[in-house]
């Protein structure tokens, strides 16, 4: 018998009844959209989810975690994360999930989003490109292989923003994953415009870019004038003009389409910054408080959309411009230190002062290697012990760097719809000795800590 539900040969009499029950349950689930979603099966879940982008053979993975640090929301104890197609479908306590889902028992684990490094040169060739080369990208230096990030994954970093190196404007960054499908390893090919220039260097570069804009505007004006002139000539000529006279300048009457003069390629991204084009943002490096004040003058004059990297060490005077940075609502990248006032033993916490002033704080590891990235959580725990808030500390290595890179719609927290880049630790991340045990990228466990290594 062939019906809508298939033949009895496939389902059998009981199976058909069960299937009907399942469909009813699914319909109920749609009705109760506000309540926890009752998954009746993979196909049913696909039907009731808002986005129907689930592939037909989507496999569900479920993590039953002892604790979930969502970063964007509260921390959940004994929570469940449902993952399909490499994305988080749901997270919460007492969530039902499909029966055939692959369950990862992580009841002795703490799950948090994978860490994101906003600025790194990890395993890139030691090549400094000094001068103004804004059109260059790290992609030309980037040759990934399987082993490049093998040790790095143990640290819990799942996303790296690679930056060009050199004084001046050495180029644009790119964002890569530390693992995952090869075709998905590069997340963003051209990211922020990296600026590590003196006030004078930055000013002259931007002035040159401004000149390029004026050059184009000038050419366009000339073209318009010429066109106008040609139109005037095209208008019915006075009767005195003999018709037999051949048109000597056919090009003048029909001017070609406007071809803007070529902008110097190394200045193109700067022109985009000056024109405030979408997707263009600068990451400006400053070494001390005074340098920020100097560079700010130039950035303010040209209204450059920018974030700041405070390349400071333990002893730093950036506290002097915390208020100024806060007024500008700056997004700052800092190294995780407990700071001291220069020439003094007075301690302070820069990250805390910046945040209190109104900045968004991202943290980059103090060392650009496996060790430096491995101790970031430890450094953060010291900052938290010194008085920084726990949620801010977590955000500074996950959500805020994602925001800096313009990827906060996909990365940086455990939320419905975000990419399942997660790390599973054996203790609270801020507890000394906590260790990243499993790393999940794109919904797949890509790294498991070796027990023998300990």
């Amino acid at each position: 018998m062939q019906t809508f539900f298939g033949s009895d040969r496939h389902w059998g009499p009981h199976g058909r009844r069960i299937l009907r029950l399942v469909m009813v349950l699914a319909a109920l689930g749609v009705l109760h959209a506000t309540g926890p979603i009752a998954y009746a099966g993979p196909r049913a879940a696909a039907l009731e989810s808002e986005e129907d982008d689930l592939s037909p053979d989507a496999r569900f993975t479920v993590i039953r975690a002892g604790k979930v640090i969502t970063v964007s929301g509260s921390e959940l104890r004994n929570a469940t994360i449902v993952i399909a197609d490499g994305k988080i479908r749901n997270v919460g306590q007492a969530i039902k999930y499909p029966g055939n889902a692959k369950v990862i028992d992580a009841r002795d684990r703490v799950v948090m989003p994978g860490l994101i490094n906003p600025s790194s040169r990890f395993r890139l060739p030691r090549y400094r490109r000094t001068g103004v080369h804004a059109n260059q990208t790290v992609a030309s230096e980037f040759f990934s292989n399987d082993y490049t990030y093998e040790r790095l994954r143990e640290t819990g970093y799942t996303l790296l923003a690679l930056r060009p190196d050199g004084r001046g404007i050495p180029g644009r960054g790119m964002v890569v994953r530390t693992m995952g499908p090869t075709d998905q390893q590069v997340v963003v090919e051209t990211s922020y415009v990296y600026i590590d220039a003196s006030k004078r260097g930055l000013r002259s570069a931007l002035e040159q870019a401004q000149k390029e804009i004026e050059k184009v505007a000038e050419a366009r004006k000339k073209y318009e004038e010429k066109k106008e002139q040609a139109r005037e000539e095209d208008t019915p000529p006075p009767s005195t003009q003999p018709v037999s006279q051949p048109t000597t300048q056919p090009a003048a009457s029909q001017p070609a389409a406007f071809e803007p003069p070529k902008i110097r390629p190394e200045l193109e991204p700067l022109v985009a910054l000056l024109e405030k084009r979408e997707g263009y943002r600068a990451l400006v490096v400053v070494d001390n408080a005074s340098e920020y004040l100097h560079v700010r003058e130039v950035l303010k004059k040209h209204e450059i959309a920018h974030d700041l990297m405070l390349r400071s060490f333990q002893s730093t005077d950036f506290f002097r411009v915390a208020e100024t940075l806060g007024e500008a609502e700056a997004h700052v990248v800092v190294r995780p230190y407990i700071n001291t006032v220069p020439n003094s033993a007075e301690r302070y916490l820069l990250v805390k002062e910046l945040e209190a002033a109104g900045c968004t704080v991202s943290v980059m590891p103090s060392g650009d290697n496996e060790y430096g990235m491995g101790v970031v959580l430890q450094r953060l725990s010291e900052s938290v012990r010194e008085g920084w808030s726990r949620t801010s500390a977590f955000k500074s290595v996950t959500l805020h760097p994602a925001k800096l890179l313009g990827l906060d719609d996909r990365f940086g927290s455990i939320e419905r719809g975000k990419v399942a880049d997660l790390i599973l630790l054996d203790a609270d991340p801020l507890r000394p000795g906590a260790r990243v045990r499993e790393v999940m990228i794109n919904g797949e466990i890509v790294h498991r800590a070796d027990e023998e290594q300990r």
């Binding site: 003196s198 006030k199 004078r200 001390n288 005074s290 004040l293 005077d317 002097r320 220069p342 007075e346």
Partner: protein, 479 residues
């Protein structure tokens, strides 16, 4: 009641002479009463939406209120120092006077100053207010190249120099403010000097300098001749300067630039004075150790000398003429009418000891000039207005006058005394240094602490911790 007081007078000052004469007080009261009645009557007539009469600063004649209505880009920046003894340098010392600055310029000085509402106030009660000191030789306070681009405005050097009272210093060939905490309004003047090399020790350079002056003079004379000739002959050809004519020397002879030369020996000073006389340019001399031996001879020719009273150069044993340095040098040069700027032996900030010899102690160096016979007033001028004049920036800094830049320091005593500390340094109407807030000297004689005498600190006594009962009980007994 208090509102009426504010309307008729200011916050401080004017009411005191009124109280002195009772009949005037009565008259005043009558006027007040009348005006009050009139105001009341006017108010009753006027529509209720009229401007409020209780506004204390509406009738102010001085430009104290915020800028008139319109585009309010940035509010006016006011800073005042009150109750201090103000040493204006170019004018009298004013006891308990007020200086009011607006947007980095001094707008009012006197005992009868009304302060605007939004005004930062430094109370200098019992303290002295001087113009910020000017360092005519300095290094390491500003960045190299273009100081406005490269200076670290939070540097320890700058802070220490401010603690020494310096608010303006030479930076390369520019004069720049010590704008701690801001990069705004740093440069006062660019391109101060043309440097001359005219020493007997370097005969080649000396000859070059001289020939350059001669070439420049020849060209200027040719220009003069051309001007005369043009009156009669229209085809006269304007002379073009030769390649060897240095435009800087043209400027010097025309008087639109200033030359500076380092000269210490008697002979070099005499030679330079002769050169300056011959070509008629404005000359500043650095060093001038032996200036005291030739002061009358060089007096008319030299526009200023940058000297160090404590310079130590031994006399020439083989010479019959007076030679070597003298602590009286500054005083003798000044007495002969040469403006003198005083700089310490080390014209930078040093952190390696030898207190009293670097820019932190510029005021002490002026004190040594007093030791050499200079008057207090002249010594003060030598680190303020005279130093500013030697740098060519005396229209901006160097004294406390209306219209000049709001650069002043608040000291706890006589500036020339070695114990005197700077409590505030104000640069461009902003507090650039506050002793109590910075970690540098806050612990030394802090504000409000009881005065200590010499006997309190000497002979030194070690303070043993008090042997209180609790600690005694905590000790394990030996029995």
């Amino acid at each position: 009641m208090s509102k009426i007081n504010l309307r008729c007078g200011d916050r401080r000052g004017t009411s005191a002479p009124l109280l002195g004469a009772p009949w005037r007080f009565v008259a005043m009261f009558t006027v007040l009463l009348l005006s009050g009645v009139l105001a009341w009557a006017g108010e009753s007539d006027a529509p209720p939406s009229s401007a409020p009469t209780s506004e204390p600063t509406t009738t102010s004649t001085t430009s104290t209120g915020t800028s008139t209505a319109g585009v309010e880009e940035e509010p006016d920046r006011f800073l005042a120092v009150i109750n201090g003894d103000v040493y204006t340098v170019n004018g009298p010392a004013l006891r308990g006077a007020t200086i009011l600055s607006k947007n980095g310029r001094i707008v009012e000085i006197g005992t009868d100053v009304r302060l605007p509402e939004e005004c930062e106030v430094i109370d200098a009660d019992g303290k002295r207010v001087y113009p910020g000191l000017v360092a005519a030789s300095a290094g390491g306070l500003h960045g190299g190249g273009n100081a406005a681009d490269t200076t670290n405005v939070f540097s320890a050097n700058m802070q220490v120099a401010l603690a020494g009272g310096i608010t303006t210093a030479i930076a390369g060939n520019d004069a720049a403010k010590l704008t701690f905490g801001t990069t705004e309004d740093m440069i006062v003047k660019k391109g101060l000097y043309t440097s001359l090399d005219y020493s007997r020790r370097r005969p080649l350079q000396r000859a070059e300098t001289r020939s350059a002056f001669e070439a420049a003079r020849a060209h200027l004379r040719a220009l003069d001749r051309y001007e005369i000739e043009r009156a009669t002959n229209e085809d006269a050809e304007k002379p073009e300067p030769d390649e060897d004519v240095n435009r800087r020397y043209l400027k010097l002879i025309r008087g639109s630039a200033t030359a500076v030369a380092t000269a210490n020996s008697r002979q070099d000073l005499l030679d330079l004075a002769a050169l300056a006389r011959e070509f008629g340019f404005r000359l500043i001399v650095r060093g001038a150790y032996e200036g005291w031996t030739v002061a009358p001879q060089i007096a008319g020719a030299i526009a200023g000398a940058i000297v160090t009273p404590r310079a130590s150069v031994f006399e020439n044993q083989r010479s019959v003429k007076p030679s070597g340095s003298s602590i009286e040098n500054a005083q003798i040069l000044r007495r002969h009418g040469i403006p003198v700027a005083i700089v310490p032996p080390t014209t930078s900030i040093t952190f390696w000891g030898l207190a009293g010899r670097d820019l932190l102690h510029l005021n002490m160096e002026a004190g040594f000039a007093v030791r050499g016979g200079m008057s207090d007033a002249d010594a003060l001028r030598a680190v303020t207005i005279d130093a500013a004049r030697i740098l060519g920036i005396d229209d901006h800094v160097g004294s406390l006058e209306i219209g000049k830049d709001a650069d002043w320091i608040v000291c706890d005593g006589d500036l020339l005394h070695y114990m005197t500390q700077v409590h505030y340094a104000v640069v461009n109407g902003r507090i650039a240094y506050n002793k109590q807030k910075e970690t540098l000297f806050a612990h030394i004689r802090p504000d409000g602490a009881p005065e200590t005498t010499f006997d309190d600190v000497w002979p030194r006594r070690l303070e043993w911790p008090a042997n209180d009962d609790s600690s005694a009980a905590a000790e394990p007994s030996r029995e």
